[in-house]
């Protein structure tokens, strides 16, 4: 019943002198890209360069929520594709990614929030993504522990309910993709740091790493919070990305209490009960850019205050662990997926902010197409870096964002 086949490949064979493509960053987006490169694009001479170990960054620090109820015409199909891919990937990778289709309840705390949600719901529905607006009473039916009192800081007016969403076991995705990629010939070099990207006449020629230099015509940088810094330091290209710390925590495991992912923009809280029974909950990002993954005293306290107002029974539950990761925020909360511009052979897939987990499968698949064929798939075209230069933001968020001191 249980083979003793290795799940993690361990260290790859020694670095080859050259690869068809080198992917910097051993996170989910690159693992997915590598897997699709090998499986769908027949590009097997691929190396992943990871400074730490695979899944060290955002892949292992997110709260594993998946959904497709985005706001804009450009984003919705991408996230829908990603959502639809979980069961497919589970089958293809023969690894249980544990997609738990519990649906998402996004709480709305004002008339304005209901209005903003209606744009999402209506757009999503027209694009074939199931989404509903609930009033307060309907919301409480979905979330019995919810506090409907008007005496709280942000009384609940209703919710955006998105049945197709849910949670996925994030570690399983890392391991499943890594195993799948390695089986298909991808070399995963852990504990190997990318030091530089070499170019000649505006074309990528290789990557310098702590384990030696690799010749390659294609480099894909997708290193989560570190992408913008890497691209700037290696090639001098400035990306409009601010990196902010985002914190999360879990309670002790409980018998089933929350049946859906519950989130609230006004309270800066999202919470879901994992299959293990813990309530995993996250806050908003720290209000200033930095690169640390340290937690702060204020946030866990804030989180407790907010959760108790929304779900008062949680007053009797304990937090047992908190951690932090990095969110690479663009000014319009949509990622940058681009390639061959301004450097030929340089591809980037970054700026996902806190949407990197839910999108990784679809983004990886399209980036694989892009890298293998040099043709930007239509679905990725709106995510070009040049949109910032042209001041054409994507509008993934309705409200003004405040990630950088100059915004």
């Amino acid at each position: 019943m249980f083979g003793m086949k290795k799940i993690l490949p361990g260290f790859a064979p020694p670095l080859k002198f050259s690869y068809d493509a080198v992917l910097i960053g051993g996170g989910l987006h690159n693992l997915a890209t590598a897997w699709f490169l090998a499986r769908e694009q027949n590009m097997n001479s691929v190396a992943i360069i990871e400074k730490n170990y695979i899944g060290y960054g955002g892949a292992g620090r997110n709260t594993a929520i998946v959904r497709a109820n985005q706001r804009t015409r450009e984003n919705i199909p991408l996230y829908k594709e990603a959502l639809d891919l979980w069961p497919v990937m589970t089958r293809e990778l023969d690894f249980n990614l544990m997609f738990y289709n519990c649906g998402n309840v996004n709480l709305l705390h004002s008339e304005a929030a209901v209005k903003a949600a209606r744009v999402n719901v209506a757009t999503a529905r027209l694009m074939g993504v199931e989404s509903h607006l609930l009033d307060a009473a309907e919301t409480q039916k979905r979330v019995p522990a919810l506090n409907l009192s008007h005496q709280i800081t942000h009384p609940v007016h209703g919710a955006m309910y998105h049945p197709p969403g849910g949670i996925v076991r994030h570690d399983a995705v890392v391991w499943g993709l890594a195993r799948g990629a390695a089986e298909n010939g991808v070399h995963i070099h852990q504990q190997t740091e990318a030091l530089g990207i070499e170019t000649e006449n505006g074309k990528v020629t290789g990557v310098r790493t702590s384990a030696g230099t690799i010749a390659t015509p294609r480099v894909l940088v997708s290193a989560g919070g570190y992408s913008a810094g890497l691209i700037y330091h290696m090639l001098g290209i400035k990306l409009p990305i601010s990196v902010l710390t985002i914190q999360a925590m879990v309670t002790q495991p409980l018998k089933p209490l929350l049946n859906h992912v519950v989130s609230s923009g006004a309270y800066h809280v999202y919470a879901n009960q994992t299959l293990k029974g813990e309530i995993a909950t996250g806050a908003h990002m720290d209000p200033w850019p930095n690169y640390t993954t340290q937690t702060t005293a204020g946030y866990i306290k804030h989180q407790a205050e907010a959760l108790i107002e929304l779900l008062p029974c949680l007053a009797g539950v304990k937090f047992m662990r908190s951690w932090a990761g990095l969110a690479d925020m663009t000014p319009d909360m949509a990622p940058i997926m681009d390639g061959n511009d301004p450097v030929e052979g340089l591809f980037m897939n970054c700026g996902w902010g806190y949407f990197g987990f839910k999108s990784c499968t679809a983004a990886g698949r399209h980036m694989a197409r892009f890298v293998a064929t040099d043709q930007c798939p239509d679905r990725l075209k709106p995510f070009t870096l040049r949109r910032f230069e042209n001041h054409r933001l994507m509008g993934e968020t309705a409200a003004l964002v405040n990630y950088t001191p100059d915004n």
Partner: protein, 974 residues
Amino acid sequence: MKRRLSLPTRRVDLQRRIPFFYKKRTCYGVKGDTIATALYASGVRIFGRSLKYHRPRGLYSMDGECSNTMMTVDGVPNVRTETTLLREDMVIEEQNVLFSARNDLLGFMDRLDRFMPAGFYYESLHKPAILWPMAAKMVRKAAGLGHIDPGFRFSGICDEIYPAADVCVIGGGPAGMSAALAAAASGMRVILLEARPWLGGSFDYRLYAAGETMPLYEQAGELSSRVASNGGIRVFTRTAMVGGYNDNLVTAVTEGTPEDPFDYRYVEIRTKSVIVATGARERPLLFENNERPGVMQPDCALRLARTYGILPGRDAVFSVGHDFGLEAALDLSDLGVSVRAVADVRKDGHDPALLEEIHRRNIAFFPGWAAALAEGNKKVNSVRLSQIGTGRSRAFSCDLLAAAAGHTPACEPLALFCGRLAYNETTGYFLPGKYPPGVFAAGRVLGLEAPTSIRASGEWAGHEAAAFCGADCHAAAKDARKALDGLPGPHAGSNWIAHPGPGRKRFVCFDEDVTEKNVRQALARGFDVPELIKRFTAAGTGPGQGGISGHNLPLLVSALTKKNAAVPTTVRPPLRPVLLSAYAGNGREMTKKTPVHEAQAKQGAVFRRVGSWHRARYFSADLDVTEEVANVRSNVGILDASTLGCFRIFGPDALSALQRVYAGDMSAIRDGRIKYAAMCNHDGCVIDDGVVIRTGTNDYRFTTSTGRAGETGEWIRYHTRFEKWDFHLVNLTDGTGVINLAGPRARDVLEKITDADISNEAFSFGSWRAFRLAGGIPVTCMRLGFVGELSFELNIPASFMQAAWDMLLEAGRDMALRPFGVEAQNVLRLEKGHVILGQESEQRTNLLDLNLGFLWSRNKDIKPVGADALGQAESDPNRLTLTGIRMADTHAVPPDGSVIVNNAADRRVIGYIGTIRKSAAVGAVVGMALVEGPYTREGTRLAIYDGHSNMNVFQHATVVRMPFYDPEGERMRI
């Protein structure tokens, strides 16, 4: 069970019985008992069942490191009964059992371990695909310890305090107390945190003195009375450190007693330096059934007897690896426990004095032996000891097995401050490689065992910390170091935690039922470092976090991989589980109220939160606010607009600063006139709008929207940061109230309460005047037209707001003046086509998109923020643009946020409605929407979908010109 009465170390008051309910039965403990000791004294041995295998679990340690003894108390799940003080009438229930902990109907799970290797769910349960959704539901039901009722309400009192200190000492044992006394001697403000209810640490319950005259518990008593009488030391007992953050911020939680005015208190300490003196725990010993009830750590057994007067068992076997284990065996033997055998993993290196005592008492002693198997169905009834290396073994019947591999440091606080830990070859401990400035460690956490060394290390750390804080005590620190160096150093320890060998139920992590075998399985699957093995097996991720497995997992990985490099997984706060209510503290509503909040509440206002404020949104149950709107259109109303941002900017370069942030030309402001202005960001997107007036030479006032008031100061400073401009910016928002008196009869009302000439000739639309109301109330009055009627916007010092409000209401009484809310204003301004940022604009909406291009001045000396982007956007015809729409149907009002599609067949989303209302004044349903450029031509027919109804049914609207009402603006100019 009868308790020992005459122990000098006893901490419970046997005369004070405390009743509680356990399994619906009344039981009794005594004052000072924890829940666990009370239950143990009542004969309870099986406290609960384990997560996965439903194995019986009992008392193992005494500091609540694992879920073995977690129970549901008064509806709160996962209460650590080992550390929670027993209170009267507590209702205590078992967790994770079907029927009872003794007879758990799910106990058969224990035999299914072969089917549940490490991480089995990753590689099963997904084939066929249809299996998983069902399996997931079952997994969810099976997982989780403890249940919380959705209707549960916490009734306790939570407090919070934020003390500051020079030196914060974590741990009130002999080292911590010595450190606190030494630091206080240099005049430092010292805070001493102790998780247990009393100071004393490991000395508190021990008689042994290693050649000294005074028993350890007396030494502890002597130290704690010196601490108590020292005014420089603030002692927090029952207060466990839970977090350590940047710049030595320490958080802790106090568990109150019935005598305290709180149940939990969150303590956040800003301290200059930290001394970690948290001592050591016992390192769990791995053997078959190492968590069977009846197996406990020697320290736990000794404390049961010495502190609580409870004999832990009748016949005991000890399997230890440290002198303390021998000491505990001897002491328990003296207290009446029959010690059948003592095995010690060490072949030599024992304290000779202890060995001599063991021989003197004829206790069978087995050096180089350790426990290999605990037998007994639900409780231990015999133990098999075996010799390391040879496999020779002997069985002993017993009801208590006191087992530990040795000591391991309680180094988690150090890990929070110092980062990575490393394995120390001498002590076998995990300790930081280096300490950041201001962080010190003392006592047993460093591996010191000799009582004199423990105290001396505390004194040294106390002096060092004081010196770090600037005290002149370097000589004292030097002397203390010298004294410490003359005393016995850290003991020799090892990484030994188990006989090598097979075994199915050698538990590394009790919470998650992770066995040594599971760790081997993880290694075989390629997970080669503790961090990954933890994730794959879940070891150390349960309710007790790494309390049991934290050090044993890396030690085991080292042993299995024959590498000595494994270090513990990252230590993350909170160091022990903390109730959300304890973190939340006393709770507070931070929303601001305007000066006339209460007055409006009395008039029936329904409030909504806007930014950081409460604002009156409706003044009637009619959420369509028909009456409120009509009254402003035909008569007169007042609106409290105090939440608007209000600023004064003055100084020689005030104008330059305004020119930088506002798109328009602020040098063109004429005396007495009002300038409508907007701020953009670098993308040209509108972030704020308001009005600017010039009140004197280089002196301006401006308003912002409610939401932006907080950020505006920051915004202006940021965008002028490279300039050497001289200006001052004052945020007057909270000190300024605003009343908008609006409607055709507004002048009639205002005239009654001011002598100023407010005729249209003297005070025309678009201008402002400063004058006084009756009673001398100073106002800055602006004639604006946001709602489209004659209107006077009165800016009034907040302290006069109530008086002015009352005066206006009185003056307007015979004209039926009434207040109107934000929703009425919303309809009124919609009819005028005036935007509210965030309502008709979104993040990517620029000035041109809102048809406000006239607010942008291209020829200023100082280029405003966003000018480049605006220049680029001018040539883009496809942007989402503010568009007036009129519904074909005069009655049906689609909700705000309904989307607009190009046509019913194609259904491509081309925009959405910002605000739409039925307008009595216009006689139609009109709204403002953001629509893609090509669809904004007047007369274009648009299809609208509300996100709710059938997706094939669309309502229709036509693009019309704005404003909808009084297009020439005559009504506001009267």
